[in-house]
Amino acid sequence: MSALLTAGPVRQTRENDQKLAALAARCHYYMALMREAEDRIERKLYRQGKVVGGVYVGRGQEAIPVGSALHALPDDVLFPSHRDMAVLFIRGVPLGRVFAQYMGRVDGLTRGRDGNMHMGDIHLRVVSIISALAATVPVAAGAALALKYQGKDGVAFCYFGDGATSRGDWHEGVNLATVQKLPVVFICNNNQYAYSTPLELQMACANVADRGPAYNMPAEIVDGNDPLAVYDATGRGVAHARAGLGPYLVECKTFRMTGHSAHDAAHYVPPELFEQWEKRDPIQLLEARMLENGWAGREALDATHARIRQEVDEAVAWAEQSPYPDPATLLDDVYEQP
């Protein structure tokens, strides 16, 4: 169930162990759900030939969409990128529709017209990316402008990777947002690669956050494998933006624990890096912490996984029942039908 529909976000809970435990549990659930859903897609449905097109997953990066999007209020608008599936779940998109999307079925969020993470639901205020990286950055600025214009205190959450920051759109969007003091929280997953391209061929600065001052924008660096750290940092960003102080950048350091996509074996990544980051798996780290702090017992965690597996099983079954789109609809909705 979506955070939106339950208690609403929990802020500054460090002091309050119970609240922290509850937050950890929600993080754990969504992170594990994203992991399970993507595993199912990449390792099962894709290999079974049931997925249409390519598959890009966020394995190892789940803490970023989860720790950040748990702050979203109903008026807020979210712009997930291609490794942020949990944003959809947190926002209330039914699991089955996501599987249907990957399988090109009519019940996917794009009704089979687009694939993989290219999906959104305007009613839930989740905007679909287009392929062109960073194209959502000025669009998020415009959405934030609309929120301000409408007198709402909503915030736009705009997600992107390290590679996307090289695009002109990234610069134009961030610049516009800062000049106009628009309520945007920029959330960068710096997973150190863009396809095969390592950071040092992408940017000459050491951190994406080093770009904040170029826009007079506060920017902080956070452990992207720790959902509670991401949650805290995003909370500061959201507070800043809601207060009318303009955009805020949260750079989440992480690592892409897969190839760029399901067809990329990532031979260009030194194996040590995978080994090193394997030890920092965000779900395992979170579980260890939950156990250590007595926030949950092993059985509870296992029960969550079991529940998720069942949810995923059901959702996949539901999605597989969904038909492919009727070719007779091919020409519909290019324009508003009169």
């Binding site: 287009i130 194209a135 000025p138 415009g142 402008l145 214009y149 134009e172």
Partner: protein, 323 residues
């Protein structure tokens, strides 16, 4: 008092902003300066900086922001300072705005205004007619008014349209063309061509500034006895093939006229639409008068040779009439 083409657009925008608080304008120098061509002159004083947003020099940012605001329920009208700079915001238009409805049912009700066209010695970067980049992009609407009446009625329709509209304003018409406009409020529908002059012997199909060239040519040839029908497309996408076909069915001869360069201009789309639908009605070759395939040159001698004009239209039309 007659209203100029420019003033007509200004009035149309103004009325829409009065009518609907969700309408706002954004672009470079649209606020305090009132826009490079003064289309939004006085807007910021009346509507305030909230609804008249001066942006950084970022065409992609401007179009992107318009899309974002449009997705959230506003009705942004973005200005490109010159149509030539629309290529800097190209991806946002052709990939983001054009495809949202089809892909995920999200309407993008934006207008991108773009002052285009030559005849003002603007040279290669201040004179282009980039409409065909958008005409070949399903999901967009492309509007090119030729008269003050249509300019006002179409900008109002564009603002109210729930799809992305690229609105080309011909710079050469801004202050050259004027007419008395109706007192009350009116709109002109997007997607409807208009038979501007009736005739029997041949049809000239055109749009934008070339409408006036076509009408001049038709007047002159009338003195020689030719009865020329002139169709103003007004909207290039969706293209009103019906009106064109009906006219050509009647006259059986057609001359296609555009200021845009030759190869890949709208003449081709019209020609193929005609030959595939009413080939048997054609009594003569389809001919076209267009700018040649070069960048728009700067110097007056070159630009004059480059642009289609009445003499060139008369020559071809006379040949066709006598065919």
């Amino acid at each position: 008092m007659p209203t100029t083409y420019l003033e007509a657009i200004r009035e149309g925008l103004w009325e829409e902003m009065e009518r609907d608080p969700n309408v706002f304008v954004l672009g470079e120098d649209v606020g305090v300066y009132g826009g490079a061509f003064k289309v939004t002159d006085g807007f910021i004083q009346h509507f305030g900086a909230r609804r008249v947003v001066d942006t950084p020099i970022s065409e992609s940012g401007i179009v992107g922001a318009a899309i974002g605001a449009g997705l959230m329920g506003l009705r942004p009208v973005a200005e490109m300072q010159f149509a030539d700079f629309i290529s800097c915001g190209f991806d946002q238009i052709v990939n983001f705005a054009a495809k949202c409805r089809y892909r995920w049912n999200a309407p993008v009700p934006i207008v991108v205004r773009a002052p285009s066209g030559g005849g003002i010695h603007g040279g290669p970067f201040h004179s282009q007619n980039p409409e065909m980049w958008f005409v070949r992009t399903p999901g967009l609407k492309v509007v090119c008014p030729a008269t003050a009446y249509d300019a006002k009625g179409l900008i109002k329709s564009a603002v109210r349209d729930n799809d992305p509209v690229i609105f080309f304003e011909h710079k050469g018409l801004y202050r050259r063309i004027k007419e008395d406009l109706p007192a009350g409020e009116y709109t002109v529908p997007i997607g409807k061509a208009k038979v501007v002059r009736e005739g029997r012997d041949l049809t000239i199909v055109t749009y934008g500034a070339m409408l006036w060239t076509a009408l001049d040519a038709a007047d002159e040839l009338a003195r020689e006895g030719a009865s020329i029908e002139v169709v103003d497309l007004r909207t290039l996408l969706p293209l009103d093939r019906e009106t064109v076909l009906a006219s050509v069915k009647k006259t059986s001869k057609v001359l296609l006229l555009h200021e845009d360069t030759r190869t890949g201009g709208i003449a081709g789309e019209l020609a193929v639409s005609i030959t595939e639908s009413i080939f048997e009605y054609l009594d003569a070759p389809i001919v076209r008068v267009t700018a040649p395939d070069t960048p728009v040159p700067f110097s007056p001698t070159l630009e004059e040779a480059f642009l289609p004009n009445t003499a060139k239209v008369i020559e071809k039309a006379r040949w066709l009439w006598r065919y």
